[in-house]
């Protein structure tokens, strides 16, 4: 999420464009053929420590409340709740998704005009920052190129450590 539990109106983006961004990032990291992407190391060791794209922060429940992750709208930092970080380090599926979701916010929703959606407003997915970040996370963790018809949902889960997108973070 970008700083609040509410959704934000983001610039309209097609799923094809979101998928292309996620695939390009995987490709740039030379991870095209790796099913279970090391998402924590990518965020912490590569993007933060090596490339210094943002500050990687971990904070406790007291500070984060119900937010599992948070991306600064200016792109200054990405922050995770401690239990989420520790779960992601241990390969936790939901936590890995949260990491990829925040990465989606970082690459798509920092330094762009965003407008807070009204609580009663149901945004179309292509305008919803949360839906876009979910889509990015799903594609980044489980790219179409690596999904084969010869695997079941269970074996995909094992290979990618990812569940289908469809939750709010």
């Amino acid at each position: 999420m970008l700083g609040s539990i509410e959704d934000y109106k983001a610039p309209p983006t097609s799923w094809a464009k979101v998928d292309a961004l996620a695939d390009r990032l995987r490709s740039n990291l030379k991870m095209d053929q790796v099913p279970m992407i090391p998402i924590v190391n990518i965020v912490e060791k590569v993007l933060y420590e090596q490339l210094e794209l943002f500050e990687f922060q971990v904070r406790g429940h007291r500070e984060m409340g119900s937010a599992e992750g948070l991306t600064c709208p200016n792109g200054d930092f990405i922050r995770f709740r401690e239990d989420v970080y520790e779960s992601a380090c241990g390969g936790g599926v939901r936590a890995r998704f949260t990491f990829a979701h925040e990465l989606g916010h970082f690459f798509m929703h920092t330094n762009v005009p965003l407008a807070r959606a009204l609580p009663t407003e149901k945004l179309p997915a292509y305008r919803s920052a949360e839906s876009q970040a979910n889509r990015f996370a799903g594609t980044f963790l489980m790219p179409a190129a690596l999904v084969t018809p010869f695997h079941t949902v269970g074996t995909h889960y094992g290979r990618f450590r990812c569940v289908k997108a469809g939750r709010r973070v």
Binding site: V40, N41, E44, K45, Y48, E49, E52, F54, E55, F56, Q57, V58, R59, G60, E63, F77, E82, Y85, E86, C89
Partner: protein, 125 residues
């Protein structure tokens, strides 16, 4: 990227040791949110934190000195913990004197004081 001097040192140490934040936190027996907050300037390093890092990572004297300096530069307040009432009175008086004096000292005078103190540290160590 880290906003504090201690943050730069912690990050460098982690890169050198090829550790993640969680590994450093486990090594220091602290929570990962605590180490992250110290690294990114959310918290000042508490008393003794640098000693913990020096001992956990077995830092040699040069590296230890750099870390101590970084920890001091990242602090806005310093804590002295006298045990007796006399000690508390003396420290209180000294702190008030130092507080008013320190701002009045020139950087040359402060440098001279630092060099005397560093020499003293070397004698002790």
């Amino acid at each position: 990227m880290p906003t504090t001097e201690i943050g730069k040192e912690l990050r460098k140490l982690r890169i050198d040791e090829e550790e993640r934040l969680i590994d450093m936190a486990n090594r220091l027996d602290k929570s990962s949110s605590f180490v992250s907050a110290v690294e990114t300037g959310g918290k000042a390093p508490p008393v003794g934190f640098e000693d913990l890092v020096i001992s956990a990572y077995r830092l040699a004297s040069d590296a230890a000195l750099v870390l101590r300096k970084a920890a001091d530069l990242s602090r806005k307040a310093f804590t002295i913990q006298p045990e007796s009432d006399l000690g508390k009175e003396a420290i209180g008086l000294m702190a008030r004197r130092m507080n008013s004096k320190m701002d009045a000292l020139t950087s040359e005078e402060l440098e001279r004081i630092l060099s005397i103190l560093r020499k003293g540290d070397a004698d002790v160590g």
